[in-house]
């Protein structure tokens, strides 16, 4: 029930989430209201079905992978803190954060954390490498039945050839960063 939003979230919790994720007070209450409206079972956590009930997400070709990103290893429920932590990756980097103290712990929406999020969409088995199979899987999700296996295979081979610098036929995190020249990218699109 969205209308009980700010009454169930205590001020201390809001402050903690603010420190951890960098969202503002009003953004946090807004997202909490969203969280409770998605939580049909009203038990304080979201399951994969709760996410799949959003039509715009259900028709997204990468919908399942994105939903997966919210759930920690092997778990089926995500609570509000976990929800916010994942959403924090998509908070735009603000100017006053760029000059922060380099020894402070890295904010969730830092450049490398955003890249890691995208990398993990490909790297399903979390071995820090994108193999040819993993690349093919994501490609297949994005194009559906419209491109044949051979054509898709040659796209994958070409991509790995261009990006792979150490010759192991896989794309590591560093190679991923270089391949998308993503430094500039994060600022414009996330």
């Amino acid at each position: 029930m969205g209308s009980r939003a700010s009454t169930l979230l205590r001020e201390e919790e809001i402050e903690e989430i603010k420190k951890e994720t960098g969202f503002s007070h009003s953004q946090i209450t807004r997202l909490y209201s969203r969280f409770t409206s998605l939580d049909k079972g009203e038990n304080g956590t979201l399951s994969r079905e709760d996410f799949q009930r959003i039509p715009e997400l259900a028709i997204n070709p990468l919908g399942d992978r994105i939903i997966n990103a919210f759930f920690p290893e092997g778990e089926d429920q995500v609570n509000f803190r976990g929800f916010m932590r994942t959403l924090a990756h998509f908070r735009p980097i603000e100017d006053n954060e760029k000059n922060k103290n380099p020894t402070a712990s890295e904010p969730l929406n830092s450049r490398s954390n955003k890249l890691l999020f995208a990398f993990r969409l490909y790297d399903l088995d979390r071995d820090d490498k994108i193999s040819r199979d993993e690349l093919l899987q994501v490609l297949r999700m994005m194009v559906g039945v419209n491109i044949s296996d051979e054509q898709l295979g040659s796209i994958a081979d070409r991509t790995i050839q261009e990006a792979d610098t150490n010759g192991d036929s896989c794309i590591s995190f560093q190679e991923f960063i270089k391949a998308s020249l993503v430094e500039k990218l994060c600022e414009t699109c996330f």
């Binding site: 209308s3 409206s37 259900a58 028709i59 959403l87 039945v145 990218l185 414009t188």
Partner: protein, 456 residues
């Protein structure tokens, strides 16, 4: 001892008797008689204006209280969380590739690893806020209307406000609710009784005339039973015989609101219980279109019966809600094309409720019919506006779906609602896979458009 009690008892009885009589006379004079003749004393509008002033004061008080305690207020619409511009899949992915790559764009029209950013961002945006799921729950209010059910800033109440709220509670449950329930029973009872009586008359002009009067009178009593304050606009466009009236659907009350201003033939499934009794007696007085449960599935049968009805010019216009389900009155969702295939003139009607006085949306997954009606009758009032739009017909070369979308756009524009292409059935069902396949097809065109896709 006996002598002592008797006069006291007597006095009590007399007092009770007098107050009952006064009560009923007031009821009759101020509510039932105007309902019969269709006039209004303006009491409800005065009530509405007073309430608005009180609500404004209450909101200011909450804001002041929150400022004093240095707390933040929850305001649903002033905190937009995403800034979204409408762009196509192709444009956005090109933009992503352009900003990330220093290669010439034409030669790089193949796959880039950064393409997933588009889908990832869209996916997370829809998790934060999407257009569809919020239509199936009550609209959130910016200001408080003294009902606990719509209060988001519950902790920031002062003593005066609490007293006011308590007073409101007393008035609503102690005075308004019993009054409204009495009226509702009167209205429904009269409807059932009088339509059954009229059903005994032979078919003819007298019967139609009386049936019209009786229906209007009973619906007007029901309107007062809900304290519905309705403003009708553009009544010159009211639906005529042989036409179909379509409107956006928010609650079962929509029927009462429209039927108290004109006579319609209702369409629906026959229910059991009280609903069924009402339906069966209504159809005695004038022809409505009721379907058995088994007939509802047969689309051809439904279409045939509807088109037979509209072709008979002596029968009343049909009232249909093409969305098929209740939506929360912030948007209009997909219209089912069945009623637009019949070929009759369509009279669109837009209904917009004012949420400040009471939320009229029926969330059928949360409330049953009876608890919904009780909630309605214990709100302050139901305030709404009804616009009769000019009639529309299907044009040359336009198919039923395009016609339905055109009517839907007109209704959405008039009522100030968001026009969505999504199906209201998504309230209960999953979205079809064809939409995902469309997205996939669009994306695969981006990878080497010269390749012919495997499926067209």
């Amino acid at each position: 001892m006996e002598l002592f009690f008797n006069p006291f008892d007597n006095l009590l009885c007399i007092l009770l008797g007098i107050s009952f009589t006064v009560w009923f006379t007031l009821l009759l004079v101020f509510i039932i008689v105007p309902a019969i003749f269709g006039v209004s004393f303006g009491i409800r509008r005065l009530y509405m204006k007073t309430l608005l002033k009180i609500f404004e004061w209450a909101t200011l008080r909450i804001e002041r209280g929150a400022k004093e305690k240095n707390h933040h207020l929850y305001k649903p619409y002033s905190n937009a969380i995403i800034a979204r511009e409408p762009t196509s899949l192709e444009e956005e992915i090109k933009e992503i590739r352009r900003s990330g790559s220093n290669k010439d764009l034409d030669s790089a029209s193949e796959f880039e690893m950064s393409d997933i950013f588009y889908f990832a961002r869209r996916g997370v945006e829809s998790i934060m806020d999407d257009e569809v799921t919020k239509r199936f729950s009550a609209e959130e209010l910016e200001s408080w209307n003294l009902l606990t059910r719509s209060n988001n800033n519950f902790t920031y109440i002062s003593l005066r406000l609490t007293v006011l709220w308590g007073l409101g509670l007393l008035i609503r449950y102690g005075f308004l609710l019993p009054l409204r329930v009495t009226l509702a029973f009167t209205g429904v009872g009269l409807l059932v009784f009088l339509t059954s009586v009229i059903g005994l008359l032979p078919n003819g002009r007298m019967k139609n005339f009386l049936s019209e009067k009786v229906h209007l009178m009973c619906y007007r009593i029901c309107v007062r039973a809900l304290t519905a304050i309705i403003t009708y606009h553009d009544s010159e466009n009211k639906p005529k015989n042989g036409g179909i009236c379509v409107a956006n659907h928010t609650s079962p009350i929509d029927v009462i609101i429209l039927a108290s201003d004109g006579c319609y033939a209702m369409v629906g499934q026959i229910h059991g219980g009280l609903m069924g009794v009402i339906q069966r007696s209504m159809v005695k007085a004038c022809p409505h279109v009721w379907f058995e449960r088994s007939e509802v599935k047969d689309r051809h049968l439904v279409a045939k019966r509807l088109s037979d009805h509209v072709q008979d010019k002596s029968k009343l216009p049909i009232l249909i809600f093409p969305e098929g389900t209740c939506i929360n009155n912030t948007s209009v969702m997909m219209f089912k094309k069945g009623s637009f295939e019949i070929g009759a003139t369509v009279y669109p009607v837009a209904i917009k409720y004012d949420p400040r006085f009471g939320d009229a949306f029926w969330n059928s997954s949360k409330f049953g019919m009876v608890s919904y009606l009780l909630r309605m009758m214990s709100s302050w009032a139901i305030v709404c506006s009804v616009w009769y739009l000019p009639p529309m017909s299907r044009e040359e070369g336009e198919d039923a779906v395009q016609f339905a979308n055109r009517v839907k756009a007109a209704i959405a524009r008039q009522g100030g609602l968001v026009d969505l292409l999504w199906d209201g059935g998504l309230k209960r069902e999953k979205v079809k896979d064809t939409f995902k396949e469309e997205q996939q097809k669009l994306y695969s065109k981006m990878l080497r458009p010269s390749w012919t896709p495997l499926t067209t």
